[in-house]
Symmetry: D2
Subunit: 339 residues, 4 copies
């Protein structure tokens, strides 16, 4: 693993430490090499996990699969070196999530330095791309907001049940989504008892959601996405609005969501709405909806743990598929929290 | 004051205790009569405020203005008695906010027992009805969610800048909005690190917002309103979506909001968005917006303190207008919080 | 399991659902029988766990070990029936933690209705009583505050390193310690941004700590215990003060704590102090200390997750010992939280 | 005011903006000069408060009293310049709180660069030094932890009711006490759902408490002080332990505290203990106690708002005394919070 000391990296270390078929050979950290993971995260006390400087040859020699938890742009530089030495890579940055480099370059406002890999990369959402993930060498692991929105809306667009141009995603995220950083704006005093919207109309995840929902709809989808920062540590709750197609019924909506019937990590609620705490601590995405005849609008609520299904958990799910393990290995299904 | 021990009532007691021209003659509490207010709220320690049983004659004899902080339905029974004895009343329930009893009866699912007073009651939002408030005997003090939404959207509808049928209000509230109650769902363990949507498509405030925005638009407005419960104590942040009319510009939007230029308690941000903490602890409503050309949507964010501008503060503002006091008396303008 | 829907009961259900050698045969709930556990705790969604009325015969027929998560007093009535039908019992109430019924009756201010079982019951703290737990039919599972205090102080008293009369335990607990209840004082609005001391000089856990520390010291120990309620959901942090015996050194203190060297769930920090988040989500107790020569005082800090090591986790640890399983089964060691 | 953009400085700006007899002539900020205070703290939106670079001559020319909210050491350099130009100074750092420079130099581990002023400086705790504050040119405004501890213990030591060597102060503070900073350890993700002890045996406030309690006792007092960081924004709750002198009664303790009878900002509870929220938002210190005969210990709980009575509010109280204003001006007595 490269980038073990951010929140997503540490969560990946936590999950892999309980995985019966996988073990971590190298934990690479630029900022903390030479220290032990337990120096940064004392919950690992009692376990000896030295943090190493990056050594591409050592990493690729010892690991079948490399997880890269690096900043955007850095991944595009490191990943080609890993692939060329024969490793398979699951990348948690935004660098390999796009089919069209121009979209990436517009929303991330930077040049993409490994464009040639985009055609080989598979978007790592098992519910949509399980077959392609099996044989992939490079996974672009989905973003957190995007996972909550795409899983909720793709089935409806596939089934033609909503107007593609009508979608609004009002999303609210916990603070781990902003990363582990020295930033006054992320301090307890600034955040507790506060909520704010940010990146309105400009957040990068907008383009990632639009890419996948356009594929689901079979036509270009443009949508509004408004992220908010919540005084909670983990979890994303996305409330989505769309205009249903003429005469759409609740039964049709349920039918569309039936595509998740055998999915281990998607729960569609029958007649209630999910809450953050139903999923925090688990790899689950929980979805519920209300069809409001009075206003002719469909309201869908989708919740995930941003560090698990929105990052490290989904990455392990992808690894399990790539390695032929049981898809749930290391991702105990019933580990949400009760309080 | 009748109903002094709910959160809105206690906030009213706090505000009035610092008001130079007003003093509280009677603090009535059904649940706690015989005790002192400081027994329930120790922040009043050192101040002797006995809680009394309701005695309509005593209350109306000693008070020029009576604040009623009672449950819906109870107000409709008590208020006529107060008015008939010559008191002026500022009612904080939903009972006297509606022009059409049928709308109330549909959304509150109960019979209205004082329908005849609805034509005399004035909707207590000074920014829209200041002149009528001056001479009113009965004020229906606005709801909390509704205050944040109406102040933000009414100017745009008045100016014809948005499509009346396109409005979506995604609102998030602190827990004081749910009242002071013994309720497992409102316990710290259930609420901290959690967020949920509730009352989707059915929340009563929908009808109150629609009433006032229909008046502003000069045509019936139907809208989607989705409230969420946040792990914060105070504050409402409403994120609103609407489709702008053809060719609407940012300058036109600013012009529409210029109607608040001299308002003491509405702040329209030039080029940023308000956050909860900018207003919590104050009687301010802060409004900001983004006109997103890419999606042809207008996103408006509006924040208030639900117990102050959304309840007790607005009630005192109404009292000040009715009594000819300075409108800001007791409502120090610069008392938001910095941390 | 009897009493599956309190916080400790639900945590036990969560832990047992991931245990490879144990499975739950009956989930009994007086308040919610007829419903499914996922109705109360939606994190169990997708798993069918019917909540049953109590049927002593069915329970004892199907279960080798019965966990009782019942109110004090109720356990004393139910447990004898379970034992007489041949079940082994791990009781999470205070009823079977005492060697002397008179102490229980004084501090719990009630008559003990199963005094005859106290001599058979074993205090379920594996670090102190592992050998006796192996063969026990009845375990009095320790209290939460008491676990944090006893694990920290017992080694020092055994080694004679502190004055038995000098101990002060200033403990701070998350709200799950107060249980799942409809109680205004436990509401989010009352608790967030608040901290209070309670039960000063009278909290029942005082007597339980004194009992075990007296045994460790080989002489009666009387101590001050002050619990505080924190605005966190889980976790206890106890800060303890004691006067060291003449000439005690840091090395001697480390030697005393070396008794935990091979304990899977006790972490003694070398030269830092544990924080709540180091242990929340795990079955660990983390202990650190400062020997302050200037004041001739020893300060010890001890942290646990009150629902795991302080209740359900320790109960499963006891079950593992009683059944000959690996002591860590179901209690993954490295599952503390990093954020 | 010099140093207007830290939390204490901003709170001082907030309090002074509502003060009828005082107005701020200069708001100096090294970090943010050229901006407006509302850029840093949007709750000041609508009010024009330019942040200036330090200009000693301008400041002293226009201000009768200068508040200095500067880091330790910086105050010792700036304050002499202010005094020499004729200004009176209320300093919120630790630099002018000590009577003995050697104590300061030991605990702050730095040289004191204005030792000659220590004999002129008055410790700014009105309840103990009101008469001297009246005529002072330089006030060393007390620390936050120290205020909570000294107000609670000084009366008992003065009356000889407790053993001076027996005092333990277990204090818990909100995060504003750590200041407004870019610091990962103060981030929401690190702090929420966490509590930790820090600076055990070495925190600087230890020496300040000992200085004042030694004066109260008329003999040297050495004590243990353990601060903890809470997941709350504001407030300090100190739980203190002491051994009562032989035969001390509750009545004697009440008599000792009667010295606060006419104090506007100290509330001694009759038979209950104060909680954080009773005082947060106010300039009050609330004190309660339990005399535990069983253990022969006295437990005292004392609560303040660390930014008000523990910093900015006490500074304004001192200004009021120095200027001959009503001592409560700008410090509304009943402004604690109810939720």
């Amino acid at each position: 693993m490269i980038g073990a000391t951010g929140y997503a990296g540490a969560e990946l270390m936590r999950i892999l430490s309980g995985h019966k078929n996988a073990s971590v050979q190298h934990a690479v950290s630029k900022s903390f090499s030479g220290q032990n993971l337990s120096d940064i995260y004392p919950s690992f006390t009692g376990r000896d996990i030295p943090l190493e400087q990056m050594d591409i040859d050592a990493v690729t020699k010892d690991c079948g699969i490399v997880f890269t938890c690096l900043p955007h742009g850095t991944s595009a530089e490191v990943v080609p070196q890993l692939l060329s030495r024969g490793a398979k890579v699951i990348d948690l940055s935004g660098d390999f999530r796009y089919t069209d480099a121009a979209v990436y370059e517009k929303w991330y406002q930077r040049t993409h330095n490994a464009k040639h890999l985009l055609s080989k990369s598979v978007y790592g959402m098992p519910e949509l791309y399980r077959d392609r993930i099996k044989d992939a060498d490079l996974i672009g692991n989905p973003g957190c907001y995007t996972t909550s929105a795409i899983l909720a809306m793709a089935p409806l667009l596939k089934a033609g049940l909503i107007h593609p141009g009508s979608i609004i995603v009002d999303a609210k995220s916990g603070a781990t989504g902003a990363g582990r950083a020295s930033n006054t704006a992320l301090s307890f005093c600034e955040m507790n008892e506060n909520v704010k919207a940010y990146g309105v109309g400009t957040h990068r995840h907008t383009s990632e959601i639009e890419q996948e929902l356009s594929i689901a709809a079979g036509a270009p989808v443009t949508l509004s996405f408004t992220p908010h920062l919540l005084p909670v540590k983990r979890g994303i709750i996305s409330t989505m609005y769309a205009t249903p197609s003429n005469g759409v019924t609740t039964a049709q909506l349920k039918d569309a969501y039936a595509m998740y019937e055998n999915e281990p990590f998607v729960k569609v609620y029958e007649d209630s709405l999910p809450e953050l705490k139903h999923v925090v601590g688990s790899n689950n995405c929980a979805i519920g909806f209300v069809l409001d005849a009075r206003t002719n609008r469909l309201i869908v609520v989708s919740c995930i743990d941003n560090l698990i299904k929105g990052a490290a958990g989904q990455a392990v799910q992808n690894m399990n598929i790539m390695c032929g393990f049981n898809e749930s290995d290391g991702l105990s299904i019933y580990n949400g929290k009760n309080d």
